[in-house]
Symmetry: C2
Subunit: 432 residues, 2 copies
């Protein structure tokens, strides 16, 4: 991995709040004007595990690629629910802080480490990074970097790797999705949920059952076959439609849902637990979650009922279990589907690095439909006061909430704003 | 299901022992001469759960097909380890005794129930039966009956359904076996083990690790890639050859092997528990087995390690879960592979109905390589006294132990004889 330099902490949050309204208005290289030295770069730094106030935008020494690495000038970074868990320290064997969060990004190759083949300076790429993605420049082993199609935007490319590889591998590598099958996916409006829905549509006659907050239903109703409120008794809802249950249950919720999900499986069906479960029972933060209540499963019950239970962690597969080669094959297939216009990442909204807290609050509040993206070149949207916000809220939303790609319209739902700070808020920038 | 008539118990075992040597020598319709009435048939009856002495050959009223059933004149029946568990009562929700055991047979269609389509009298068939297979005549729903190829013998056909459908569904429906993968199978010399080995050879570059009693190794060594003694530390043996482990573990042993099997899985690998686990903890017979010690599995561990655990019970799938249509599709594919000479059932030995105890003892002792078949038309081999047996044992075995199909020779191993009774034994008839 790239060698990280000494941090020069910059209390960006306070600076932004103090200097609200004084931000330069120019687009493009937002924030880079602060760097007096080309050997430095901006990055989001997590100073310690905890709340949003542990996040800062900081100057760090420019990383240089080691043997086998690519140096990437980052254009956009993906924000996942997992990043929220990392911030809270709710992960197994947490790394030491301070750290730069983020596991995926897109950008342009700026330098090649020794022994790197197959890439050239200037290539447009997307990449997995084992932390350190939320920065202006990252270095990552060439095994985790993929060229992107000409017509794929950097925002789309930053929304692609985690969600689509996870969805594809669960459906086709673990569960063997085939014609005529049915799939239940929770958080159908999220990044993985929308990737699952799109991939299911590439197989004939697949029924998708989804759960999502009711306010998202209008926006995503065309992407799934049956949609339930996330707080509804979805077991009964599914059984009412399909008494036998479903062939595949994808569960990122866990807790009591493991039993519910298993109970919904048809014979030969597969339950997959994925996503954000990097928790350890000894972790004090756990008490705020129910995930440690996951029930153990008796293999004899699986035998009697002809059921399959699986776990899926893409990051472990990549960074602990050495499956980069397998995953490159999956990315190749996914890019093929993108080129055939069969899949397309759904981007919820773009945020400047300095807006990471608001972005994280939005994913915490499950306000997003599709992926939240940190746009490295974006200038932070000026903060608005409570008075301005009241004015903002009273207007019609329709003129500011643009149409979503691939999932219909946002319709009349309220654009949920970040609520990280006190008194000042930014309005979210929805995708182009 | 067919209506069963009143039993007329016949203490066959005692009769055979008393009348040893007086058995009529004619081949063909062995035993049927005893029936004075064409409205009766011979069947193996389990009088109650317990030891071998609970098995009898009995006259029973001729069953007649109900609506949707076929009446089959049985030629051969498959004997599975599961039948041994049934005899002991080691099954979940055991049926009432007396009962006729047996779950599969082959024969000729003799009559059609109402509304049966697709079959004609005289068709050569194999069938699943929910008990009652070990008889001269069975009736079973048409959903569980399959026509057999012209060149498939009745012995082969009786050895086919349980083992090959189980092996195929585990490898291709549950685990998604593909090129370059590796499989660990226990009891590699048994019926399922040999079916697994053959099916793996239909996929390019699949490595098969097998465990089996050492005396079987010479006979089956060509059917698997790596063979270990069943009492060896196969985890270490496998890891010595493949440090990463294997992609698929098929486990009919259970107990502490669940943990061992899971530990051997590569990331994205699948562990399948199958076969004979129809036990309940409240069953007193359980104390003689270790299977209730199956460890529960923590889904979070599956998540962290990217592993899959599955259970597979063909009989539940057929008779409780209504998957006859799916299984007919699998049988069609398997018959296609048989016609292409890519698979061929391995028959260990043929036994008359009256020899069921010896046959069952042989499977209990794990003496078989491939399938044990009850050949309904076979005349029981005369019993030999201890003196004759000593003489028999002292001779070279090679002249009597014929070559096995598809698995090389029996070589110099001792033909294991049944040991059900006291003082008298039959020598086994190995396959033609």
């Amino acid at each position: 991995m790239a060698k990280e330099g000494v941090e020069k902490a910059e209390e960006t949050e306070q600076m932004i709040e103090k200097e609200a309204g004084k931000e330069p208005a120019e687009g493009g290289g937002g924030g880079s004007h602060r760097l007096g030295d080309a050997q430095e770069m901006r990055a989001v730094v997590l100073a310690g595990f905890g709340g949003l106030n542990k996040l800062r935008v900081t100057r760090k020494a420019m990383p240089e690629p080691q043997d086998g690495e690519l140096k990437i000038r980052v254009k956009a970074c993906g924000l996942n629910f997992l990043d929220l868990m990392v911030r809270q320290g709710n992960i197994d064997n947490p790394p030491k802080t301070p750290l730069v969060p983020g596991f995926e990004c897109s950008g342009i190759v700026e330098a090649l480490g020794d022994s790197v083949k197959g890439f050239e300076i200037g290539d447009r790429v997307m990449a997995f990074v084992n932390y350190n993605a939320w920065a202006e420049v990252v270095c990552t082993p060439v095994d985790f970097v993929y060229k992107i199609p000409e017509d794929m935007s950097f925002s789309e490319a930053a929304a692609f790797p985690m969600n689509f590889v996870t969805a594809y591998m669960m459906l086709f590598e673990v569960a063997n999705l085939r014609e005529g099958m049915s799939v239940l996916v929770h958080s159908a409006g999220g990044g993985v949920g929308q990737a699952v829905a799109q991939l299911c549509s590439t197989v004939p006659n697949v029924t998708v059952f989804g759960t999502a907050s009711t306010f998202k239903h209008e926006a995503i109703k065309d992407s799934v076959t049956h949609l339930f409120d996330r707080n509804a008794d979805y077991v009964q809802e599914v059984k009412r439609i399909s008494a036998e249950g479903v062939d595949i249950v994808l569960d990122c919720l866990c807790g009591d849902n493991t039993g519910k999900g298993l109970s919904l499986l048809k014979p030969l069906g597969t339950y997959i637990l994925y996503g954000n479960l990097v928790l350890t029972p000894c972790n004090p933060h756990l008490l705020s979650f129910q995930w440690w209540q996951v029930e153990k499963v008796n293999p004899i019950k699986l035998y009697e009922e002809n059921k399959v239970i699986a776990g899926f962690s893409l990051l472990n597969l990549l960074f602990k279990q050495g499956r980069a080669g397998l995953i490159r094959g999956v990315v190749d297939k996914l890019i093929g589907l993108y080129n055939q216009k069969k899949v397309k990442p759904v981007v919820d909204s773009l945020w400047a690095l300095e807006e990471v807290k608001e972005a994280m609050q939005r994913i915490h509040d499950r306000g997003n439909i599709g992926k939240l993206i940190l746009d490295v070149e974006k200038t932070p949207t000026p903060l608005v006061s409570q008075k301005q916000r009241d004015l903002f809220s009273s207007r019609s939303e329709s003129s500011r909430c643009r149409h979503k790609r691939g999932v219909g319209r946002w319709g009349g739902r309220k654009c949920r704003q970040g609520s990280a700070g006190q008194g000042w808020r930014r309005k979210p920038e929805v995708t182009k």
